[in-house]
Amino acid sequence: MISWPSRLLLAAAILAGQFGLIEAGLRLEGGSEATPAFQALFLQDPQTGYRLKPGAHTRYTTVEFSTEIAINAQGVRDDRDIGPKAPNERRIVILGDSLTMALQVSVDRTFSALLEQRLNAADPSHQWRVINAGVQGYGAVQEALFYRHVAAAFQPDLVLVASSVVNAPLEAGKQSWLDADGQPAADAGDRASTLARRIVRSSMVLQLVNLRYTEFKAHFQAPVKELPLATYLSDPPPVVDSGLSVAHNAMAAIASKAAADGAKFAILLMPTRFQTDDADFGRLAKTVREAGGTLERNAGTERFRRAYASLGVPMFDVLPALEAQPHREDLFFQQNVHFTERGHAVAADAIFGFLKTSGLMAEVAAGRPASPLADRHTNAR
């Protein structure tokens, strides 16, 4: 007869061994943002919370794509370093989130790279450089902080913010970041939580456990548990308005800094997949309906447009160009919500068209100082 302590010891040893086996299996299989190799693309940063790690390199593989990811010495997704600006060089910095960073396609297929190709083809007299400054998981506040502390040094002539119109609620608590010009200093509780986060991030098994915990918590939250979807509800929770207000302040900060640096500024409104994919919208609308809400397909775009309108800066909505495409279900990947190569090409064409017709391209090419007048630049619907 084995004693209880021995049984517990045996059970603990077996559980620990299985933990190790599953951890090893998951690392070997890869294919997830939870892999330590993927997580190694990021570093903690006191000013932006986190950012891309200069010089990091990995391959990101899922069932839908396999992409080489390289972070240059300046900490943006680019295979070229960013040195001093040549006299005839015109630089555009595109701030944004994962849709801009575009880990799902190779670096030369992102809308940033394709936009650069189109600009150089249209204006061979200048050397156009479009810098993809998108960072996975960023919202308006972190974009503003990243611009202020990192990307402003790239000496852009034009700053574009590719603003995903799903993220309003995620910005709600970040006004303090803007006020403190960085992530607010951590107290003892925060430090413990940072340590816990680091431990969790170091293990794929623990990340999955954490995911379960998050899902469990979500059962006790608002009827629509996916916060980004809240931006599209016909009757959005107050957190959406607070988030939009903070996002507005963040855009104002970027516009102000860009103007001070002599750069022009414009906002690109980036839609989410279900705004162009009918089947996806049908599924989500049903889910939201079952949770007691109503999903309005373009409410996110409209709310961000209204929130940014008072800034008086040029604004361009990418959605109509995507909506005009045949086979819209091919514009985004099916198992994640990011552009396919085709989606990037359509977005690049649309943004290029906007820069051209709005006169921003000509203004940047001419090197004229920034103009706050925006009305003629906006593709109002």
């Binding site: 084995i2 077996i14 559980l15 299985q18 599953i22 456990v209 379960r212 089947a279």
Partner: protein, 474 residues
């Protein structure tokens, strides 16, 4: 409420804690209340139907038992059958027959204004209706004595572990356990916990993950390749089994914890070698119900080959209709009837030529088992397709578009294998030992390793979205 919901996770420990401290009669009263709450958590409006069935069948059974006059006994039985089948027919089949009738009239160019009622199917109605029908018939046949305690009968009908998705229990199994004080043994607790864990594994790791993977294969708007349809159908066979056997195991496990034994509903049905064997191992409580209350009354196999075959076809087609109000279910039932008829033909030929499959594990049995699995999968394709023409479309794709793409391997074949293989390892061992409780007899390190693996696979890779059980609304 379903077993894989947070609601149940809170409900059961509270119910169990209270149950354990109550004396026997109070336990029964408490379980009736808890079971009504369990049912009302889905939709309280249909509680009336459940209570209605309880009152009608309790009264009819008692009337039948105390009446000797055959005509009155028959009348009481008819009242019970008309009530039960009427309720079942209205709630389960009204929309189907109304729509089908309008469709048939449409073929002749006649427009009929059908009554538009969006009838909701009450949860578990098919299960508890069949239970009460069998109870009244058993009393009518004088096979059992009716209970004289209304509360005991109410608990027999509404006992929450079996209420929404079976098993379809017989009165002679459950009523004595309700009537007599229960003793909960250590073995029952250990077995119950294992069955609950294994049931959740079957549901959350096997069935729900497979469901997500194969959804695009059966989406009428998409065009899968032949190999995707084939793998999708195989995977659906395991999804269906994991879903339903998982529910049955959780029900059995929960019951064991309360000292009540429910019957085994699934006994390794994909490891059999004939359709007849399949129905002795798949949804056993339903197949024996159909046998005892439909096939035998129709004459069974007592009136010659042709009538036996007719009876099999009728029984299984009605069994298909029991599964759902839709043509794919009826066709599925007819197909099952046909396989049973074909089984008889093969038996006759085999008998004539003195063919037989040796007992034990041998290559003939393995090949026959694999063939039988494909026979089962044809039925699964019919069952899963959204319509009969769509089942035809998918079957055609298997034979006309058998393209092999590396994407299929990565996105379907490997994930399906990662889900099915761990399940099969345990399943085959259980089948070898003849019981799902077999892992409890493993040496301690192996047993702990199995418990750990089940725990990790559910926690890390299980589906926690609370997907409904397929049989939830049958």
């Amino acid at each position: 409420m379903v077993f894989n919901s947070l609601h149940f996770l809170a409900f059961f420990p509270i119910v169990y804690a209270i149950y354990r401290v109550l004396p026997h009669r109070a336990q029964n009263v408490f379980l009736v209340g808890a079971s009504y709450y369990f049912y009302a958590a889905w939709d309280w409006r249909f509680l009336g139907l459940l209570i209605g069935s309880t009152i009608v069948d309790y009264s009819m059974a008692r009337y039948i038992a105390r009446t000797e006059e055959p005509r009155r006994r028959r009348m009481a039985l008819i009242v019970s059958l008309v009530y039960n089948l009427g309720v079942l027919g209205f709630f389960k089949y009204f929309n189907f027959f109304e729509g089908s009738l309008a469709h048939v009239f449409g073929w002749f160019g006649w427009h009929v204004d059908v009554i538009t009622l969006h009838v909701i199917l009450p949860m578990g109605i098919s299960f508890y209706t069949f239970m009460t029908i069998s109870y009244v018939i058993d009393v009518y046949r004088r096979e059992i004595e009716p209970t004289t305690n209304f509360l005991d009968f109410a608990l027999f009908v509404c006992y929450f572990p079996h209420l929404v998705a079976g098993p379809v229990l017989r009165a002679n199994l459950l009523l004595p356990q309700i009537k007599n004080p229960r003793v909960i043994t250590r073995e029952q607790i250990v077995e119950g916990l294992w069955l609950i864990g294994w049931g959740y594994f079957q549901k959350m790791y096997v069935a729900d993950n497979l469901s997500r993977l194969i959804e695009p294969v059966f989406d009428p708007a998409l065009s899968p390749t032949g190999i995707e349809v084939l793998v999708g159908v195989w995977a659906f066979a395991f999804q269906g089994y994991g879903d339903f056997a998982g529910y049955s195991n959780i029900a059995r496990g929960v019951s064991k914890l309360m000292g009540i034994e429910l019957n085994v509903n699934f006994l390794f049905p994909y490891l059999v070698v004939s359709p007849r064997d399949f129905w002795r191992h798949w949804h056993i409580s339903l197949s024996t119900w159909l046998r005892d209350y439909l096939y035998f009354p129709l004459g069974g196999s007592r009136h010659g080959e042709l009538k036996t075959e007719r009876n099999l076809m009728m029984t299984m087609t009605l069994g298909g209709l029991w599964h759902g109000a839709g043509w794919p279910y009826i066709l599925w039932g007819a197909y099952q009837g046909f396989t049973l008829v074909a089984n008889r033909w093969v038996d006759m030929v085999a008998k004539r030529f003195r063919w037989s499959v040796p007992a034990g594990l041998n290559w003939q049995r393995i090949l026959l088992g694999l063939f039988m699995f494909q026979v089962t999968c044809v039925g699964m394709l019919i069952f899963r397709a959204v319509s009969v023409p769509d089942a035809g479309r998918l079957a055609k794709i298997i034979f006309t578009d058998f393209r092999f793409a590396s994407k299929t391997v990565e996105s379907l074949i490997i994930p399906v294998a990662l889900i099915v293989v761990p399940f099969l390892v345990v399943h085959v061992y259980q089948a070898w030992k003849g019981t799902e409780l077999a892992p409890l007899g493993l040496p301690r390190p192996a047993r702990y390793a199995l418990f750990g693996a089940v725990f990790y696979l559910i926690l890390l890779f299980g589906d926690f979205q609370g997907a409904q059980f397929i049989y939830f609304q049958f």
